[in-house]
């Protein structure tokens, strides 16, 4: 059985995600040019992403996201993990044939159960959590 964690430009340190996964993972960053173009990322931004990955135990693969993910499909038992931001980029067709488990960064605060539309309303709700 093999496990693969895919990360994106909003999750450049896989260690923050790996500690939530209960198995050894290979970590892959799909370097998807067409996606980057769709986001209009500047060269500076792309450079920052790539340079950040150099500090991490991550393999960077050039190719479109679904193609890269498929290339790591060894057998039916392969476990795929990725943050929601990557899952949201996969097509429904792809997701209908591939089981993907989401794994995300922990937020600093537990979200209040009601909507706060001004910051200090939100702050009053979460202050104890972060200041204690």
């Amino acid at each position: 059985m093999s496990a693969v964690l895919f990360i994106d430009e909003d999750h450049l340190n896989p260690r923050l995600l790996l500690n939530k996964i209960d198995e050894q993972c290979l970590v892959i960053f799909p370097w998807d040019k067409s996606y980057f173009e769709s986001r209009s990322y500047s060269f500076k931004q792309l450079f920052f992403f790539y340079e950040s990955l150099l500090d991490e135990d991550v393999n960077i693969y050039l190719g479109e996201l679904e193609t890269v993910v498929n290339s790591f499909r060894k057998d039916e038992q392969t476990s795929f993990y990725m943050p929601m931001s990557l899952i949201n980029r996969l097509s429904n067709e792809f997701l209908s044939t591939t089981k993907v488990t989401s794994v995300d960064l922990a937020a600093l605060t537990e979200q209040p159960d009601h909507f706060c539309n001004r910051f200090f309303q939100y702050w009053r709700e979460v202050k104890k959590q972060v200041m204690s």
Partner: protein, 264 residues
């Protein structure tokens, strides 16, 4: 087809050339801000939580410069909080910095409840203008950093050349684009996202809405005196080089929002 990309480079310049080849990019300029956990940890070690509260509005103030690393998941906010706890006797001394870290959660919370607000006006403008009164494109002189305000040009250069702008200067730029040039906040928000290393749509876009007054009670504006107060000698704040900003708030309010009395 997929291809494994290289990870060993002699220096940043070699990486720059390699990446430019992959992207067929003619603009190979890079930010002086280094990516990666090691660079992030240097910033973390230099963090001054107590001074942050007192100096954060000054462009030379003791801000952390951690935002690109937080925004891109190089470091978790909880790690920063833990470091703050280690460096102060009482967390109240670092409350402003903790609040700043919490803003990101707040914007995420708002975007989760109202995702349409990422690109649509949350509320009407409180400027006396209708949304249709604002332009759909960014003026060329702004994109070229050739406006008639020297300080604004410097902030634009920082955005374009480094992918980073101090938070206070972001507010100046946003207010200038929206209120002084009457451009839709969405245009400015997209412009920032295209350049900022820490571009995070909920924080970025909802902050633009806050300046615009479509997510706040009143528009945020500034004048040259305010820029002069919070910047150093590297920013040209001479009135002759910043004429549109060299006015009192009363005059600016009258000029920028003539259709409505606005309590700014």
């Amino acid at each position: 087809m997929v291809k494994l990309l290289r990870k060993n480079f002699l220096d940043r310049d070699e990486l720059r050339h390699y990446l430019a080849q992959i992207h067929d990019d003619t603009d190979e300029s890079i930010s002086p801000i280094m990516g990666g956990r090691k660079a992030c940890e240097v910033k973390l070690a230099n963090m001054k939580p107590k001074l942050y509260g007192r100096t954060r509005n000054h462009l030379q103030g003791d801000v952390t410069y951690l935002s690109p690393y937080l925004s891109r998941g190089v470091i978790a906010p909880q790690e920063v909080i833990n470091k703050i706890k280690d460096s102060v006797d009482n967390m109240r001394e670092a409350e402003k910095l903790v609040q700043e870290l919490t803003w990101r959660d707040f914007w995420t919370h708002v975007a989760a409840h109202r995702p349409e607000w990422l690109w649509q006006d949350a509320e009407p403008y409180k400027t006396g203008w209708q949304a249709t009164d604002y332009a759909d494109t960014m003026p060329e002189d702004i994109l070229a950093a050739q406006t008639d305000c020297a300080c604004i040009n410097t902030f634009i250069d920082s955005l374009h050349n480094t992918g980073y702008v101090h938070n206070h200067a972001r507010m100046y730029l946003a207010a200038y684009v929206i209120h002084f040039r009457r451009v839709k906040w969405q245009v400015g928000a997209k412009w920032f996202l295209d350049h900022l290393l820490d571009g995070y749509p909920p924080s970025n876009n909802l902050s633009w809405q806050w300046v615009a007054s479509t997510f706040s009670h009143k528009p945020y504006i500034f004048n040259l005196g305010n820029v002069d107060k919070y910047t150093g000698d590297d920013i040209d704040t001479t009135p002759d080089n910043n004429r549109p900003l060299a006015k009192t708030y009363a005059v600016l309010t009258k000029e920028l929002f003539p259709n409505k009395r606005v309590d700014v």
